[in-house]
């Protein structure tokens, strides 16, 4: 077998493998949207429960994302610049929610913030019951998706050469002011992408939310609920709406990447 023939065989093998993987990933979602997409969009006009569920999902995911951006960006900066004491340990702890099954995450949250817990009990006595409320939905979304934001934000910040900050410091900026005036704008596209990824992950969360708050229902739980109660045909439109909702940020992200060199380091 000559070199050219073996090269062709290898190329064909890689192409075939890539196609198979792509089909495996796209086929189920594609079929779901094809079968339920039109009905789902139509049902948005006639199904108040679906509309309310969609609004609740979007609102809680947005709130969880905004809180994470506010609290997680400084943390990502500390980690990216090596200024966080025990940074390796903190990074490992941040990754922990990504590694545990999401229903387990829900149980852990229930333990920490449920009625029987000191925090949950105090909040309930103050009139703020977490479990069974939109707050718990946001909390579950934050728990499972925030590590994605912090990790991606840390990468985005690390891509900005620290010497920009050094120059800003010698020009009179404090560390946080230099980060705000220089690093934040230079990493803004990466930070936005991190936020988009987190939002999409939060929107599609099911396992942790179902333990904490079955009602009011987010779209993922509504889809599950209708599948159990009425079967596949009833669940399909709701599931398709959820896929379309997750598709929006994905398209925004791709568009950002197409319009700018998102992954390029700022040197």
């Amino acid at each position: 077998m000559n070199h050219r023939t073996s090269h062709r065989i290898a190329t064909s093998g890689v192409a075939l493998g890539s196609l198979m993987l792509l089909a495996l990933l796209v086929l189920p979602v594609g079929m779901l949207v094809m079968r339920g997409g039109v009905d789902g969009v139509r049902q948005l006009g006639s199904d108040p429960e679906l509309r309310a569920s969609l609004a609740l999902t979007a609102f809680t995911a947005t709130a969880a994302t905004m809180i994470t951006v506010l609290l997680g960006t400084p943390l990502a900066w500390l980690l990216a610049r090596g200024r966080m004491p025990a940074g390796t340990l903190v990074s490992a702890l941040l990754d922990l929610p990504l590694l545990i099954p999401h229903p387990v995450a829900g149980i852990a949250l229930l333990l920490a913030f449920g009625r029987a817990s000191p925090i949950g009990g105090t909040l309930e006595r103050a009139g703020l019951a977490l479990v069974g409320s939109p707050f718990a939905i946001g909390l579950a979304m934050l728990f499972v998706a925030a590590p994605l934001y912090v990790s991606a934000a840390r990468e985005a910040i690390a891509r900005v050469d620290h010497r920009y900050e050094s120059v800003a410091r010698t020009l009179g900026d404090s560390p946080w002011r230099a980060a705000w005036r220089v690093t934040r704008p230079l990493s803004s596209r990466g930070l936005l992408a991190a936020g988009v990824v987190m939002w999409a992950r939060a929107v599609s969360e099911f396992g942790a939310i179902v333990i904490l708050t079955y009602n009011p229902k987010v779209v993922s739980i509504l889809s599950y609920d209708r599948f159990n109660a009425y079967g596949l045909d009833a669940a399909l439109p709701v599931a398709a709406v959820l896929v379309l909702l997750a598709l929006v940020p994905l398209l925004v992200l791709r568009s950002l990447r197409a319009h700018a060199a998102l992954g390029e380091p700022v040197r």
């Binding site: 050094s166 120059v167 010698t170 900026d173 560390p175 704008p185 700022v266």
Partner: protein, 349 residues
């Protein structure tokens, strides 16, 4: 004044060790050294953007080891400029000051005014350097740290910017510490030079002293000495009054007389090419102690200079002449010449 005392600093796998230097206020210090010697790390440690592991940094006589960079009143200019790409040129220049008039003056004097309306991304490397210099000078620092700031400038602009910076330094009494690889720049600008290698100070002093009297053969070679020979030194006569001994240095067919405080031992002789005088015939009675016969093996033109390599009993002796002198002497391969070197021009180390 800039002073470091036994300074130690780690930057990844690289470290500065026990760096002690003193640059008087208002002086222009030059930092020389091969790539990876620690030159930029030294500047960053003085600027305070890199954490000190041991020792101390003093600016204007005050210990600032634990003072934040924003309170050190100094400016730093990196080779890459590091202009903020999300800001305009004008916003870059005014970044660290509210004194817009002074910022404008700096931009004018450095020739950056014409660039103010340009986007940072459209600037050439040299233009970025000029804007970065104006930005660093705008807050009126009295200490300026320069990391190869002229590297990207074309020769015309480089001469202009050097002249302006030197004038500003004298007008404002600034203390400048300047990393460069350009020995001509070091000789032209520097009042004091520091040679770093492997994170340590190898030699420091006035630039002429470093170039004329390098501490080691490696320093001599790094500083571009054309002739470095390894051989044996023998003290011929001990001086009783001026402390300058007469020493004969021998290697193969080459025998040189040097004067200085030396001992009899294996050593290196260093002769700079411009200290060698070439003639076609032996000179008459002369004060020069070293008169060496040889044969030209190569004449290489380097701009207005000619680099003439003379074979002396199998050893290459390199002389730097003006190209006019080389032409007048008719120097070419195979021509017999006589090289003359005064004893003080032979440095043993």
């Amino acid at each position: 004044m800039i002073e470091t005392r036994a300074l130690g600093c780690r930057a990844g796998t690289f470290a500065l060790h026990d760096v002690s230097v003193t640059l008087p206020g208002g002086a222009w210090g030059i930092v020389l050294g091969p790539a990876g010697a620690g030159k930029t790390t030294l500047l960053e440690t003085i600027a305070g953007v890199r954490r000190v592991q041991s020792g101390s940094v003093l600016l204007r006589g005050d210990d600032v080891t634990h003072v934040a960079p924003e309170h050190r009143s100094l400016g730093i200019v990196y080779q890459q400029g590091y202009l903020f790409p999300h800001l305009s040129v004008d916003e870059n220049i005014r970044y660290g000051t509210r004194d817009v008039a002074w910022a404008d003056t700096m931009a004018d004097r450095l020739g950056a005014s014409a660039l103010r309306d340009r986007a940072v991304q459209t600037l050439s490397g040299g233009e970025r350097q000029v804007v970065a210099l104006a930005r660093a000078l705008a807050p009126r620092p009295d200490i300026l740290l320069l990391d190869e700031p002229f590297a990207a400038l074309d020769p015309r602009r480089r001469t202009h910017v050097r002249r302006v910076l030197r004038a500003l330094q004298r007008e404002l009494g600034m203390t400048v510490l300047h990393v460069t690889h350009d020995f001509a720049e070091a000789g032209t600008l520097g009042d004091y030079a520091i040679l770093l290698e492997g994170g340590r100070v190898i030699q420091s002093g006035p630039p002429a002293e470093l170039f004329r009297r390098p501490a080691t053969a490696a320093v001599a070679e790094f500083l571009g000495a054309e002739n470095v020979f390894a051989g044996q030194a023998h003290v011929v006569s001990r001086a009783e009054q001026d402390g300058l001994d007469t020493v004969r240095f021998s290697v193969g067919a080459l025998s040189l007389i040097a004067v200085g405080e030396y001992t009899s031992r294996a050593s290196h002789a260093v002769i700079r090419g411009e200290d060698i005088v070439l003639a076609r015939t032996r000179p008459g009675p002369s004060s020069a102690r070293n008169v060496i016969d040889g044969t030209v093996v190569e004449v290489a033109m380097e701009g207005s200079l000619a680099r003439v390599t003379v074979d002396v009993g199998g050893l290459p002796l390199v002389a730097m002449l003006t190209s006019g002198s080389a032409a007048e002497l008719g120097l070419r391969e195979g021509v017999a010449v006589v090289a003359t070197v005064k004893a003080p021009a032979v440095h043993l180390c």
